[in-house]
Amino acid sequence: MTTITYVEAHGQAVTVDVADGWSLMQGAVANGVEGILGECGGSCACATCHCYVDEARIGELPPPADNELDMLEDAAAPRRSNSRLACQVKVHSAMAGLIVHLPDRQQ
């Protein structure tokens, strides 16, 4: 289990233990974190799991693949350099303490 902190749009921070191998999206929806939808179930088909990964640590993550980059174009909230689709980021122990900011809208 790895500790991840999700910061909801209005500022509320929720810290969750996410099972290794689960995605940031699954960690959020299975633990009641508001602000991530994940309508397509994690198949990179909807862009409703858009998040902003802490800029200080985003370089630790494997870079997005083409399908994620394509889908990010559809994100509802502004796309930033630290935008990722949460369903494409798998959690593992080296990510402990990662902070993930959620946008104010997903649709």
Binding site: A19, G21, W22, S23, Q26, V29, A30, G32, G38, E39, C40, G41, G42, S43, C44, A45, C46, A65, N67, D70, D74, K90, Q107
Partner: protein, 387 residues
């Protein structure tokens, strides 16, 4: 002695007590009858669905497989090929594309509902689910008009299994072949005279400049038909069954149709049509004290994970207010259902229109006939009394 046999008719009609036994006492269970390890807890099913490298789909995702299709469909390929194939068809099933079809979907629903006016009884499955799903599919992927009941029947046969032979019979294989041939005829027609639809685009699509393998084109098109016709048809009937069996929830949805999306999500959790899917291990895995070996088949029991009280409190209650985020009614991960947005929209429109004319209904039969299938749960008849 406890036995979980995915071919047993009790698994078709009422798997839920067996699922609970599996979750509580045998969370990593070797089914001798199914020759498959059965995972039943939410946490384990999510972990497996997320780990395609270990839990591969290449050898098929049906517990009783149709070997000619493996490696050539979305459900039977792994990334990276899977992702490229999916990217070619996904655009037709996005919320944005479907939003533009809302009025046409509504017209399909209205036409069907109008044809039931004055009726006191209805086989919802045969008369409405089939009509709605087949016409929707035709609209979205570009199938020509055809005998819808016949096509749905062939699709159902593709996903059925025989409890005696514990696998597919000639009848099932013939049905698959029929749909293949139907797909081939449509593909050829669309290549000769392209229209602005998915099959036209898909039939000439390329990945990195390479034309798709002909088998991929035919098999993927076939599975779009089977999944749309049968998975969605069955799910629509199960939703009707849920509302018929929970009159309070039905009344609330009729009074406030904005509750239908919640009813649909809870239906997906409670008893969706796609209950169990197969994977094949690429390495040894130890889980709950069991050693699963590379090459072993594993059953991801989405239908059980959705009833796991470790994730969903009071799981056997159909609760309109639950809002079950993270449910596995459409699976999870790279293979999560391609048609999920389509199914949500179609069911919402269908029930909105149905409830305008038929706001109260109940089941005519206590016991339903269930399709025999190691993967899917589908009532082959749902007689409703329209009050």
């Amino acid at each position: 002695m406890f036995v979980f046999d995915p071919y047993d008719p009790i698994v078709d009609s009422n798997p839920f007590p067996l699922y609970k036994e599996l979750r509580d006492h045998y969370p990593c269970y070797w089914s001798e009858a199914g020759k498959v390890w059965v995972l039943s807890r939410y946490a384990d099913v999510v972990a497996a669905a997320s780990d395609w490298q270990t839990y591969s789909s290449l050898k098929g995702n049906l517990l009783a497989e149709l070997p000619s299709r493996t490696g050539a469909t979305l459900g039977t390929t792994d990334p990276p090929r899977h992702d490229r194939l999916r990217a070619l068809v996904q655009h037709a099933f996005t919320r944005r594309n479907l939003a533009g079809l809302d009025e046409q979907l509504r017209e399909i629903a209205r036409t069907a509902v109008r044809s039931f006016e004055g009726r006191e009884r209805l086989d919802f499955n045969r008369e409405f689910s089939t009509e709605m799903t087949m016409k929707t599919l035709s609209l979205i992927i570009g199938l020509p008009p055809t005998d819808e009941n016949h096509l749905r029947r062939q699709a159902m046969l593709c996903v059925q299994t025989d409890p005696v032979v514990k696998g597919k019979t000639e009848e099932h294989e013939r049905a698959f072949k029929w749909i293949n041939e139907f797909a081939v005829s449509v593909i050829e027609e669309r290549r000769a005279r392209p229209k602005d639809d998915l099959i036209s685009q898909f039939s000439v699509a390329e990945i990195d400049g390479d034309r798709l393998d002909e088998r991929e084109v035919i098999m993927t098109t076939t599975m779009l038909i089977v999944a749309g016709a049968e998975s969605m048809g069955a799910f629509m009937s199960l939703m009707a069954m849920n509302l018929a069996d929970h009159p309070e929830a039905l009344a609330r949805c009729v009074q406030n149709p904005d509750l239908l999306p919640d009813a649909i999500e809870e239906s997906l959790r409670f008893n969706t049509s796609a209950q169990r899917f197969k994977r094949t291990l690429t390495r040894d895995v130890e889980l709950h004290g069991q050693r699963m070996k590379a090459g072993d088949a594993v059953c991801l029991t989405y239908g059980s994970a959705n009833r796991d009280e470790r994730q969903f409190p009071d799981p056997d209650r159909y609760d309109l207010d639950r809002k079950p985020r993270g449910h596995l009614g459409f699976g999870s991960g790279v293979h999560a259902c391609l048609g999920s947005m389509m199914a949500r929209q179609v069911l919402r429109v269908a029930f909105e229109e149905f409830h305008k004319v038929f706001p109260r209904y109940r089941r005519a039969e206590a016991d339903l006939p269930w399709m025999p299938s190691t993967n899917f749960r589908s009532p082959t008849r749902l007689e409703l009394v329209l009050e």
